[in-house]
Symmetry: C2
Subunit: 253 residues, 2 copies
DNA sequence: CGGGACTTTGAGCTTTCTCAACGATGGTGG
DNA sequence: CCACCATCGTTGAGAAAGCTCAAAGTCCCG
């Protein structure tokens, strides 16, 4: 089922020498925490990092295991999730390039993380990262800023999970994902008829929205029937009425 | 309905002189962010603060309004919540002494906040707070630590809202609240037969757990019938079987 | 002692879940 | 290149958890 390379969960880049070049080519250079540093300062951060790649599908962080590393995503998408003993799963987020995980410096990870496609990351040993923080307060400030925003996003997701209907949840997700894809701040700026790729399966979607795959499928096809969107393929959709979708997401329509 | 003092949402302490004394008497002195500073350094932070009191029931932060202040709670309990246009409400947290709100330095508040009883707070103008950060990096570090933990807690709450049953949600809340009251780390250390006060109404509980008041009431009385707890009064309960409750909360039983 | 707000309990209903079958899609080997 | 198979998604029918609406009970506070 797995090839020999897929068996290896994590591959560590063996060339720590060309670090500066790495960062210049990196897709995350001007996003997230790296963006807080100048090219020269980034060299210091870079030397504290191990560059690792994770094969598609592999879980590289296991909930409840000792939290040894802080990760920053260089390429690919990561699924972060928690599970209950009987197997029920909840996905807390889909992280993309420039986003990080493992911020909580508690003793053990409070979540699991898996690569959705092939993923490249910078990995930092915690004590090493603290050294870098001491050297560059700007990093810590940036981290606090991002964490604050994530906290706000988490509260928004709680509202979704606690009080929104299935259709509202799906509409919220679609609008949010589209905004992220078009990197626009507000849902009102969304371009209609733009093609939107959903890299996650219906199972993932359901586990993210607190629903079942059947309800996700039904809601999605209801939107289709109502002419709000078109399903170009099973994982690609075209927003015909982003405005209306946004209203459903907000609980207005 | 309201007395003249209740009408005033926020009362500002007019004596900014005795700041050092204030902090020594403050219940939050050795919790949260204040605990990160020495007595002398705290004087600096204290001089940046306005001490305010909020009458029971008053909403002192309104969602979507310009985010001018950062608050730290000195006494009382604060309900933090978000609402949908049609009135549906979700409570994201009950904050107590030493906890803060208003961390997200975005343009507008993403939540509302109301005093559950009479509340005393330290209020910081944002630009002023940033000055303090520049002076005391330890503060910022502490803030990052706390924010990280809150993020972890938020993810746990998402699991609750997305995947737990009504009984599991209520059990989770009770166990968590008891642990907070007894200030113990793990639910396994909970003292049985301890009296636990719930300062919030069933409506609050429902809006926190993503349920209705009826379901909260039914679940609670089911626990009572099963001998897991006793209702000393409507807002005070005695945990007879904290172990079992913890198992229900974890999704095992 | 009375009134208002909150809580509990009951009965019926709705949304979503569960279980099951069918259909589409994409990769693989003949 | 096509047929096959595994996986994933869709659709349908029935069940159930939790919601809604309604009424009765309780508690606090004046």
């Amino acid at each position: 089922m797995y090839s020999s390379t897929m068996r290896r969960a994590i591959t560590i880049d063996p060339t720590p020498g060309r670090t500066a070049a790495h960062c210049q080519e990196c897709g995350a250079r001007h996003i997230g925490i790296c963006d807080a540093l100048s090219d020269e300062d980034l060299g210091f951060l870079s030397r504290a990092a191990q560059r690792v790649t994770v094969a598609a599908g592999r879980t590289f962080v296991e909930e409840a295991e000792p939290a040894g590393y802080f990760y920053n995503i260089n390429a690919g998408t990561v699924r972060v999730f928690k599970t209950l003993p009987d197997g029920r799963r909840h996905i807390t987020g889909f992280l993309g390039v420039g986003q990080f995980l493992g911020l909580d410096f508690g003793g053990n990870y409070a979540f699991s993380a898996a690569a959705m496609g092939d993923v490249a990351l910078c990995r930092f040993h915690r004590p090493r990262l603290l050294e870098v923080f001491a050297e560059f307060p700007a990093l810590e400030r940036r981290l606090l800023n991002i964490a604050s925003h994530e906290l706000t996003a988490a509260h928004e997701q709680m509202l979704l999970l606690g009080r929104k209907t299935a259709r509202e949840r799906l509409a919220s997700f679609i609008i949010g994902w589209a905004a992220r894809a078009q990197s626009c701040q507000s849902a009102t700026m969304l371009v209609p008829n733009a093609r939107l790729t959903l890299p996650m399966s219906r199972v993932d979607l359901a586990d993210y929205l607190g629903l079942t795959i059947e309800t996700v499928s039904r809601s999605l096809n209801l939107f289709k029937k109502q002419g709000l969107l078109r399903l170009a393929s099973v994982s690609e959709l075209v927003l015909l009425q982003p405005q209306l979708l946004a209203e459903i997401a907000a609980g207005i329509a």
